[in-house]
Symmetry: C2
Subunit: 356 residues, 2 copies
Amino acid sequence: TAPVSPPSGTVPLAVVPGDGIGPEVTTEALKVLQAVTPAGVRFEPTHYDLGADRYLATGEVLPDTVLAEIREHDAILLGAVGGKPGDTRLPAGILERGLLLRLRFELDHYVNLRPTRLFPGVTSPLADPGEVDFVVVREGTEGPYTGNGGALRVGTPAEVATEVSVNTAYGVERVVRDAFARAQRRPRKKLTLVHKTNVLVHAGAVWSRIVGEVAGEFPDVGVDYLHVDATMIFLATDPARFDVIVTDNLFGDIVTDLAAAISGGIGLAASGNVNPDRTAPSMFEPVHGSAPDIAGEQKADPTAAILSVGLMLDHLGLPEQAQAVERAVLDDLAARTPGATRRTAEVGDAIAGRLA
Amino acid sequence: TAPVSPPSGTVPLAVVPGDGIGPEVTTEALKVLQAVTPAGVRFEPTHYDLGADRYLATGEVLPDTVLAEIREHDAILLGAVGGKPGDTRLPAGILERGLLLRLRFELDHYVNLRPTRLFPGVTSPLADPGEVDFVVVREGTEGPYTGNGGALRVGTPAEVATEVSVNTAYGVERVVRDAFARAQRRPRKKLTLVHKTNVLVHAGAVWSRIVGEVAGEFPDVGVDYLHVDATMIFLATDPARFDVIVTDNLFGDIVTDLAAAISGGIGLAASGNVNPDRTAPSMFEPVHGSAPDIAGEQKADPTAAILSVGLMLDHLGLPEQAQAVERAVLDDLAARTPGATRRTAEVGDAIAGRLA
Ligand SMILES: CC(C)[C@H](C(=O)O)[C@@H](O)C(=O)O
Ligand SMILES: CC(C)[C@H](C(=O)O)[C@@H](O)C(=O)O
């Protein structure tokens, strides 16, 4: 992934606020984006109304024409998608598979980037977390997320349902190489492969082999391996040991929610669905869900959405602006009064104010 | 699962000490078993030399004749299996798949039972864990653990490797029913299904449907559902919310290691691989691995192996003896001097001494 030159002029941005708290946190993310935009650049957001409400009103999840339009933007900012839990009008996974994962797969977001840092002033549920500062590079386009599988004799006592995890050398190699490059740019230069090679021996073999092969190109990066179950133990007892983790789509989903929890909660966890080859726009979103129970109440913390803007700026060739966003968030976190609550917009205003 | 009548006379026990620290912790487990055995019962252990050392010496993992012999016992006590990490003479998963999982599958251990309790006097890595006392009922005979899958063009840039998670109504229903029955016997009577139904829609549908169906037979049990990623967050921030968790084989593997970590470490985590229909012997083992780095040094904590003996006694119809083992462990934990280390045999002696 070569450094990209900074944009100039108009930068078209697709914005998918989504459901629940998605629109609220997206408003604040855009506020911060405007505040940090350098002279000579103009982000031009186009809003796309997608998610549970649109599906319930029209039966549409992601029309092909909308996908084609989104594809023409330089990046995508997404709030959160997902209806109310237990809403029987929403078939399980229809929005996740049909919208969120469809975007990740169609736009070839093979690097699902999830930095984890315990920021100063933020409380961890761990008594003694140490210095938590690592990045999870989660594969985003294969593994158990392909939708491969099916079911036979559905709804009967003889039902058989399968889920097929698909792992290709092509898919594993490109994400592993990206993870090595990221590890090489970090002070500790350490990469940990997380998998379950002692049980998932076929998938495990291709991951292990390729990590071993690519390691030869990055002789200054230290490599180790952990089973996903052992990773749980280390995340709870010694998260400071991690620098860069590379792992498959499902293990990455699980590992990153625990990583977010131990570093202060998913209210602070940002993510990038990155297409490093830039053949399609990358997408940036908070790790949290749509939290319909608090939607519209200005209770959601927009920090994760704002940090996702930071990841987007970095990807678009504006690393200084990315750092400014992160610094503003850090300052805002350090200035928070413990126990005090702020409205969603107040947090956005405070962070944008530091950038103005 | 009907209550079983207590055994009398000779109870044949297959003992597989295994590798690394396995033999040391097994010795202490057997010591405690002898100390707690009631009058009129005699446990007769037969040792089976299986694991990395046997494989390296003979190429044998689990000969059919040995499996047939083991099958004739009333229960199996297992220490731990697994060779040194990175030992290239051991193909990935050969012992796990060929020995441990083969026993679980051949003997139809469909309930992989993993109680999690934060015992008084034990330190959790969580700052404020609350009262942690739950049981994970992990499915043990299907899901991604079936070995189903394969690879094409192995070792080339065109490699494709698959892992197939197999989920049957037959397999899900029996473990779900067992979990409901356990929840019904506990004061809080709460069952949480953990899965990833929004992505793994085929497998998720059969799990959701069957939990819904079986719930009708247990109207006094409260039921909820959590995605596996959200489960990570709750285990880190509010583990006291859980009572009984039912989940698939792979999610159960991941959830139980985190559960063990937050409740004081895998040195204390016991497990039962239970065949509730009693068509074959059940197997009891600590959750921890063989820890070859400290093998033979009398550094391993045998408590998890000893608590596994408690689970075995309960399964064999000796619930009072099971409770006595748990009480002795609790007393031993409460009496431990913080910071002091004891040799493996000292811990076993102390616990056995409380039972004599
Ligand atoms: C909503 C869901 C499909 C998604 C995932 O599993 O990837 C989410 O949990 C995430 O981590 O972004
Ligand atoms: C050793 C391994 C095959 C096993 C598993 O994955 O089940 C272990 O991690 C466990 O939890 O008992």
